[in-house]
């Protein structure tokens, strides 16, 4: 893995195109844009910032609001898809991620981490049609009633993502496999947008995952105070004062808040059920029994 921060940009193997002889072919660079509603728009602000020599879109308040609109629009259909279908799509995302392994490595992500991220998507893909069986319940109430509890998605989740690829996949996976849609504020813009390209080619409906790059500390407050966001995952927030501010702001509409972990998280460990159960609501339905 070359150390230079711009080394990935060329993919500059000589290709021997017509008439170029031994000269290196001029590479076609990628433009890193936002991912909103299944499309890759530039920031409406027209702003970019430099990351490893690339211009990356700097998401604005308006972009964050557009992303929430896209996430809300996509939510009912995604929640209404069969669990089998959601699992298929997450597995497809794992396939696409595996196929782009080299690109992530070229971005500086360790190959083992790409593998772990791929495996994490496979793990979550399998949960789609099992979580309800593990955390749902047929409750033996003291009376002639059918009484069933089952999880449903919380809705639209705002996420401040951790900076590693494995961390990013580990916050997106549990949110979407349970039927939520997400607005992700990424802290590793190039890997995040490349992951968005993975998701965009995985039959994931537009708007289920929306990825914003830029300054999460600047955009997160707009998600925290947004009336149409149901939950806020602060796993990637490293500044405790910012986390507390965001949590206070989220209290305005009583959003579910996942606080930043107390210490550093080992994303390679078994995540357990908690990342999924924190983003579902248990609904209990009663019905009388009788002839």
């Amino acid at each position: 893995m070359p150390e230079s921060s711009v080394s990935h940009r060329g993919f500059s193997t000589p290709t021997g195109g017509p008439g170029v002889g031994s000269r290196h072919r001029l590479s076609v660079r990628k433009t890193y844009k936002l991912f909103i509603g299944g499309a890759f728009p530039r920031s409406e602000s027209g702003r970019t910032y430099l990351v490893n020599g690339d211009n990356v879109a700097l998401a604005s308040r308006k972009d964050a609001r557009d992303a929430v609109t896209a996430a809300r629009k996509a939510q009912p259909k995604w929640a209404g898809a069969t669990a089998y279908n959601r699992g298929q799509i997450l597995y497809r995302a794992a396939e696409m991620l595996e196929g782009r392994r080299a690109e992530f490595v070229a971005l500086g992500v360790d190959g083992d981490e790409v593998d772990a991220a791929t495996d994490r998507l496979v793990w979550y893909a399998g949960w789609s049609d099992k979580l309800a069986q593990v955390i749902g319940a047929a409750n033996p109430v003291a009376g002639p009633y059918f009484n069933l509890s089952a999880p449903e998605p919380t809705g639209v989740v705002g996420v401040v993502a951790p900076s590693s690829l494995l961390g990013l996949v580990s916050v997106i996976g549990p949110a979407i496999v349970t039927g939520n849609t997400v607005v992700v504020l990424a802290t590793n813009p190039q890997a995040a947008i490349t992951l968005a390209e993975v998701l965009a080619t995985s039959d994931l409906p537009g708007g289920v995952v929306n990825m914003l790059t830029g300054d999460p500390a600047g955009t997160a407050p707009w998600l925290a105070s947004h009336d149409d966001v149901n939950a806020l995952d602060l796993t990637g927030v490293t500044d405790p004062a910012l986390a507390a501010d965001l949590e206070r702001s989220a209290a305005g509409t009583l959003k579910r808040v996942l606080r930043p972990p107390a210490g550093t998280v080992d994303f390679t460990a078994d995540p357990g059920l908690q990342p999924m159960t924190a983003l579902v609501e248990i609904k209990t339905v009663w019905h009388p029994k009788g002839f």
Binding site: V134, A142, G143, S149, A244, T277, T284, V285
Partner: protein, 473 residues
């Protein structure tokens, strides 16, 4: 027609209410610096004088709970279970006394405190007692640990039942608690303190600090508690969510609601009417999950409403201790004022108000069962929680419209569906954004059945296996 009933009052001699009560801290009753009075809302008679917990009192209670936590959480689960089973048994044995007490302090009909509240209180302790030595099987990991000290603040509408919902799972999981009962209904929690002593529960495991809103705030904001459990208004829930921001306190909030009770054109009208009455007039409508918005399909609206009005005319409002009473007293003068105010707003905004002819007692706080028809979604009485015996009636034409209207609220605690068509029940239940959906029934509760809200009705669940999650790490 209205039948004449002879009065059938339950005797209050079974309850011995002391003229004053202190705070229950570390297994002892201790006097507080200040006091306040608790009254019978049906007569405005002062029942007792109760200590008003201040910051130092909360400090002492939290410290006692902290001291008790080590040994309580180290007890084998099977021993904790036996304490809870003992408590459940004592509640059953004293349930007549406690039911009368609850009706005196709260104003709810004895028929309800005797047949609903107290049986559920005992059942709740029985249910969670059994969990205490089975936590490793709760699906929360192989060795779930208690959180520590829980600060619990409960409302006045189901004083002892809310206490059971809070204390039973907390203790089963190995936590110790400081509980603040509501300002207007402190007595049953103080009787529960006595039950803890009867059960020889170790000192400090349960502490009861009576007081008002400030007392609750001291408790919730206390730096040495690990868990906040609150049932009450959405506004206070928001304040609590702000207050705990940046801490490691785990929080469960069970807040307000504005439930839609949806009646489709194929519903059995008589059963639906019983369900509507139970949904909104049970416990004087002082129920966070009350079916306060009736959504009735246009084609049957007229028939349903005339049936509902006929049924409402038979409701008996009056002495809570009379076994024939359906609707008791409004819990406090302040709550009565709020109900009156919103009802006046409803009429002023153009909805049509109706109540059956109904004699109300001269003393105490009373409000006749009331419905508003011609209500639109913009009306405040369709949007705000009234927390009283007041029903807003709206109509719809298609199932989609019913779902749209039902979900058009920041709340999401409960909902009702009335129809004979099974597939419609399941499809509508799937689409309602509410934590509890009652189909062809309403206001049913059980310790095994998780209860709690979506959206601004709060988070976390109480009851069932899910109810343990809020008390374990």
């Amino acid at each position: 027609m209205m039948f004449e009933y002879a009065p059938a009052p339950e005797s209050r001699s079974i309850v011995d209410i002391a003229p004053s009560y202190g705070l229950f801290i570390d297994g002892e009753f201790a006097e507080g610096k200040d006091t306040f009075k608790t009254v019978n809302p049906a007569s405005e008679e002062v029942l007792s004088e109760v200590a008003l917990g201040g910051p130092e009192d909360v400090d002492r209670a939290v410290a006692a709970a902290r001291r008790a936590f080590g040994s309580w959480s180290a007890l084998p689960g099977s021993e904790r279970a036996k304490f809870l089973f003992r408590i459940a048994r004592i509640i059953q044995e004293r349930s007549r006394e406690l039911a009368v007490l609850e009706s005196l302090d709260n104003g709810k009909p004895i028929r309800e405190s005797r047949d609903v509240d107290l049986p559920l209180v005992a059942a709740h302790f029985f249910y969670y007692a059994g969990w205490a030595d089975k936590l490793a099987y709760a699906g929360l990991g192989p060795d779930p640990r208690p959180l520590g000290v829980a600060g619990q603040v409960i409302p006045w509408n189901f004083p002892m039942l809310m206490l059971a919902w809070k204390i039973a799972p907390a203790l089963a999981a190995g936590n110790t608690v400081v509980l603040k009962p509501a300002e207007t209904t402190p007595l049953s929690a103080l009787f529960f303190a006595d039950i803890c002593r009867q059960a020889e529960l170790p000192a400090g495991v349960v502490n009861i600090v009576t007081g008002a809103g400030d007392t609750g705030r001291y408790l919730v904001e206390h730096p040495d508690i690990d868990k906040v459990a609150f049932t009450g208004s959405t506004d206070v829930g928001r304040q609590i969510a702000r207050a705990v921001a940046g801490t490691r306190k785990k929080v469960t909030l069970e807040l307000g609601g504005k439930a839609a009770n949806i009646v489709f054109d194929d519903a059995p009208i008589d059963q639906a009417v019983e369900g509507i009455v139970n949904g909104i007039f049970f416990n004087q409508g002082h129920v966070c999950c009350a079916g306060s918005r009736l959504l009735v399909q246009e084609s049957v609206a007229e028939e349903l409403l005339s049936s509902l009005k006929r049924r409402m005319a038979t409701l008996r409002v009056g002495d809570p201790l009379d076994k024939n009473t359906d609707i008791g007293a409004i819990n406090s003068a302040a709550q009565l004022e709020r109900i009156r105010e919103l009802s006046e707003v409803g009429a002023a905004e153009g909805a049509e108000r109706w109540s059956p002819p109904c004699d109300l007692p001269d003393r105490g706080f009373w409000f006749a069962p009331t419905i508003f028809t011609g209500v639109t979604q913009a009306h405040r009485i369709a949007r705000e929680e009234i927390f009283g015996p007041v029903l807003s009636v709206l109509t719809f034409r298609t199932p989609d419209e019913a779902i749209e209207k039902a979900n058009n609220t920041p709340y999401g605690l409960s909902a009702g569906i009335w129809t004979e068509k099974g597939s419609r029940i399941l499809a509508v239940a799937d689409k309602l954004r509410a934590g509890v959906v009652w189909a062809n029934t309403f206001n049913k509760f059980d310790p095994t059945s998780p209860f709690g809200g979506y959206k601004e009705s709060g988070y976390g669940r109480e009851g069932g296996r899910h109810g343990l999650e809020g008390y374990l790490a």
